[in-house]
């Protein structure tokens, strides 16, 4: 009894040591399940009967043998047969009834539950009933009122649960009804005024009062008229502003005024916004009798509250908001103003123009005066700017000024000049020094602007001897002749500062700014410093190159090869290619010198099968064959072949004659055998091979004859070949030649 069985029996409750249990080693049948519940309910159920169920008790895992197609039914689809192909039903007659399948159709209950869970929040907000309130309220109503079923059914049919927002519900609780305006109740007069405004009629106060004869009506207050919701039309086409479909060209250009006025009602999307107050003047000026206006509640003159919320029933919507239009407005040049736009009274922006100050006669600009002035009150300026620096930049009041006006204490960290920290004495001393300096300068030279606002021409000085040396030395700008000319002019002007003719020629180019010119001059100055020739002692050591190297000229931008350049390059390439092509071999062929020059000999390995088909021994057999094989060693064979080229030639002169490679080294020291004697009586070695022949090992034959992909080769099965002649002459065309030719002969050493 195995331990497993023992344990099982013990589990079941059978005493394994009892005589009953030990009676037989074989347990026939399946033991009954235990009376008490064990953990594994399927313990005694054979595997093929066991079922896997999920936590809800549904059967899962319908195996291929037990379930098969019904797996679909048990898990997903609704019929025991699984997916039954639905019978064809023609939908020709009821195409309209074709229902698009919803995602829910493909969901199982878990998915549906998920969907429902995710929807709950939305549902509480959405499914609101204005009339009845929420479902709970309905429930409560049902509880209280106890409607009979017919009534409730009718109610449900006629008043479908409306969906309204919480705000609407609150309003309703405050007494608002659908169709009423919002706001405190008004008198009948006010209400009529509203009506009149809404219909666009101009009703005088008298008319309003006239209508109010009903005493009873005046006793009550009324809910205000509903405010029409401004419906701004969405512009979802690509027409220009003011254009409506079907408009003729003239209309769109606004030529016909009358036609243009018909567009008023349509282009209701523009005009006064919901929060813009329309004043009466505008209305009276532009309103035409034909225009239909929806006056709204907030046009009431005697209303001062700003409650502008409009909640309208759906029927009220779409009537359009209040539009003020200017049908007859034209621009100054006569073109019509677009519908919905208002011609502004005021121009958009007015440029301010000031007349030029009158220039006194005989006035000539003299900048020196200004400069002198600035020099004179330099100190004042300095102190001023130090304290309030931005006063200079900004017109108008500065923050500091404002601060003083407002009585603020100035900021302690205001930057101060160095002069502030100086004693009065020192300051005066400094002033004197600077004044002396300025006066001295003024006496010596013409007053030059210390900080010229516009860049002036500055030509750096070069020592005349350096300049003249540089003139003789290396010329750095040979690539650019114009620049070189200017460089030379600069050097000349520096070399002979007295000669003004050079310096006058040194002017900025017409399209060159002064800054660029200055830069250029600095460049010249530097190059003169660099390229001045070495001193005589140094110069003696070198000789100047005779050829000036013209470096490759750099061009800005993309490189576009020129036509002639390309042509030259191509020709050069062609020439080169031709030269390359004309190898000695080709050259020889061109000259007609065919022969060794045009011949190339390369080793070539024919496939073994090919050799076999042609009845030729493999010229380069596998190395393992050459070990014990007869003179088929590759080196040996090839050597023999090489030395015997002419021999082959001779032998094959007879047409169609073919012979096997002759092992030349076979006869011991007898030298080459005379081919003419072979096989004839004079051949004293005749038959020697035959006599001394030893059969080569079988694997040699196998290697030669046995082919792996050979199927029709019975005649070439390895058979002990007859001892061959040293050379075998076979008539052409005989297919059996291959047999004898391929047999190697045994050499004697």
């Amino acid at each position: 009894m195995t331990s497993r069985l023992k344990r099982k029996l013990a589990d079941i409750g059978i005493d394994p040591s009892s005589a009953k249990a030990n009676e037989n080693f074989c347990l026939i049948g399946t033991p009954l399940p235990p009376l008490e519940k064990s953990k594994d309910t399927g313990e005694f159920v054979p595997l093929w009967k066991q079922e896997v169920r999920d936590e809800k008790g549904r059967r899962r895992l319908h195996g291929a043998f037990t379930g098969g197609f019904s797996a679909g039914y048990f898990n997903t689809v609704g019929s025991k047969e699984g997916w039954a192909p639905s019978t064809f039903v023609s939908s020709r007659n009821d195409r309209a009834k074709q229902k698009a399948s919803r995602p829910e159709d493909f969901m199982d209950e878990e998915d549906l539950q998920e969907l429902k869970d995710s929807r709950t929040i939305v549902d509480t907000t959405e499914e609101m009933d204005l009339t009845g309130g929420t479902k709970a309220e309905l429930q409560r109503q049902g509880d209280t009122e106890d409607k009979d079923t017919l009534t409730s059914a009718l109610e449900a049919a006629m008043l479908p649960p409306a969906k309204d927002s919480a705000g609407a519900r609150i309003l309703k609780k405050m007494g608002w009804r659908i169709g009423q305006g919002i706001g405190p109740r008004v008198t009948i007069r006010q209400r009529r005024l509203q009506d009149a405004q809404a219909t666009g009629q101009n009703i005088s106060a008298d008319a309003l009062d006239l209508g109010i004869d009903d005493e009873e009506a005046q006793k009550h207050t009324y809910a205000p008229r509903d405010t029409a919701v401004l419906l701004v039309e969405r512009k979802d086409n690509f027409h220009g502003l003011g254009y409506r479909p079907g408009m003729s060209l003239n209309e769109s250009l606004g030529v016909k005024g009358s036609n243009a006025s018909t567009g008023l009602n349509i282009s209701a999307g523009f005009g006064l916004g919901a929060l813009n107050d329309a004043d009466e003047d505008d209305l009276e000026v532009y309103d035409t009798s034909s225009s239909i206006r929806n006056r709204t509640a907030y046009d009431i003159a005697d209303r001062d509250d700003n409650d502008r919320i409009a909640i309208g029933s759906k029927s009220n919507r779409g009537t359009g908001g209040s539009i003020r239009s200017t049908p007859s407005a034209t621009f100054r040049d006569g073109t019509m103003v677009l519908d919905g736009f208002v011609l502004s009274d005021k121009p958009v922006a007015e440029d301010r123009w000031f007349p030029l100050p009158e220039i006194p006669q005989g006035w000539a600009p003299d900048p020196r005066r200004v400069w002198g002035q600035t020099q004179n009150d330099k100190e004042n300026l300095k102190t001023d700017t130090a304290v309030v620096p931005h006063e200079k930049w900004k017109s108008g009041m500065s923050a500091d000024e404002r601060g003083t006006i407002l009585g603020e204490t100035p900021l302690p960290s205001a930057p101060k000049s160095v002069f502030d920290y100086m004693s009065q004495k020192d300051r005066e001393r400094l002033k004197n020094i600077t004044a002396n300096l300025a006066s001295g300068k003024a006496g010596a030279t013409t007053p030059t602007p210390p900080t010229p606002s516009a860049p002036s021409i500055q030509i750096p000085r070069t020592d005349p001897h350096i300049a003249s040396a540089a003139l003789r030395g290396f010329q750095p700008f040979t690539n650019d002749p114009v620049k070189q000319g200017r460089y030379t002019a600069y050097l000349q002007s520096q070399a002979e500062p007295d000669n003004t003719s050079y310096s006058t020629s040194l002017k900025p180019l017409p399209n060159q700014s002064t800054i660029d010119f200055n830069k250029e001059m600095v460049e010249y100055f530097q190059s003169a410093q660099i390229f001045k020739p070495m001193s005589v002692a140094m110069a003696g050591r070198f000789t100047t190159a005779a050829v000036v190297e013209h470096g490759p000229q750099m061009h800005a931008g993309l490189h576009t090869p020129k036509e002639e350049e390309q042509e030259a390059k191509r020709q050069e390439e062609e020439k080169k290619r031709e030269e390359d092509k004309l190898s000695p071999k080709e050259h020889a062929a061109k000259m007609g010198m065919y022969g060794p020059m045009t011949r190339e000999v390369k080793p070539w390995q024919p496939a073994r099968l090919l050799c076999k088909r042609f009845g030729v021994k493999d010229p380069n057999p596998m190395p393992e064959m050459s070990e014990d094989g007869p003179p088929s060693g590759s080196a040996n064979a090839s050597q023999a072949d090489d030395t015997n080229t002419d021999v082959y030639g001779q032998a094959s002169e007879a047409p169609g004659v073919f012979e096997a490679p002759a092992p030349t080294t076979s006869s011991s020291g007898a030298g080459k055998r005379d081919l003419a004697n072979i096989g004839l009586g004079e051949d004293d070695t005749q038959g020697r091979d035959t006599l001394t022949y030893e059969r080569p090992p079988v694997d040699v034959f196998k290697a030669i004859f046995a082919s792996d992909d050979e199927d029709s080769d019975e005649e070439e099965a390895p058979e002990p070949p007859e001892p061959p002649e040293p050379t075998t002459v076979v008539a052409p065309g005989s297919s059996s030649a291959s047999k004898t030719q391929a047999v190697p002969s045994k050499s004697e050493f």
């Binding site: 007609g592 065919y594 022969g595 011949r599 080793p603 088909r613 042609f614």
Partner: protein
Amino acid sequence: MAPSRGPQRLARTLHTTLANHKGPVNVARYSKGNATYVLTGGQDRSVRLWNANLGTEIKAFTAHGYEVLSISVSHDNAKFASSGGDRSVFVWDVTTGMTTRRLAGHMGKIHVVEFNEDASVLASGSFDTTVRLWDLRAQSRSPIQALEEARDAVHTIHIGSTTIMTGSVDGHVRIYDLRKGELRSDYIGHPITAIVPTQDLQTVLVTTLDSHIRLIDLTSGKLLNDFTGHKNTSYRIRGCFEHGEASVVCGDEDGKVWAWDLVDAGLLQPNPPPKVHEKVITWTEHHPSDPNEMITASADGTCKVWRQPK
């Protein structure tokens, strides 16, 4: 073979015209053995078998989808191979007129097919620059070997008993020597359209597109003779030896048949030769055994059998 007894008169009398082809005739081959039959292949996608003596068409072999460019007849006349634009070699059974094999593997049109001596191997040279050697004994579909040395289209092949000679447009004559295991390539320098070796395999006649026919010594690669005078610059024209190999015969692009003495390369009479075909002569082949007969195929759609006047 008959020994050379100096140049004979060329067979210039028209015996019969084989004119059933619809387009140019690209190739005309004698059958083996007595060579009483002629096989022609043409641009009209057919191979036709003729009785050269009677001038009657015996059979038309139509399986090619493109033009037929080359024909090779096996040694026992039982089968022949043809190739052309449809990139596979067709091996036909002559009696049934059906293809027994279609050897596919080339990437381009196949310009030439040749059997070896016992028709166990078939060589095909193609525009794809390769020469493929097919085993006809085994049923394998892949070639035994592919010779890929050529750098341009292979236009002509000759298979000797132990050598395979190919001529390519790259200007090389390549001799694959199976016994030596070496490849000798002779550079001619011009596109080679035909090579015809002499029967002793010592020399080879090389037709090139520079209007030259050269006789090349195969052992050394030297030029033995140069035959000129005809015009051959753009078509494959196959020249041949006259019977006895005493003279060289070749057509040209004007429809004339030229003949030269083999030894002194002088043009044989008549000089210039008369125009015998309307268009380019694509193939000349001399009867293998009858010294008095030769055939010419031309792009004018005819193949003509020429004989010596009796």
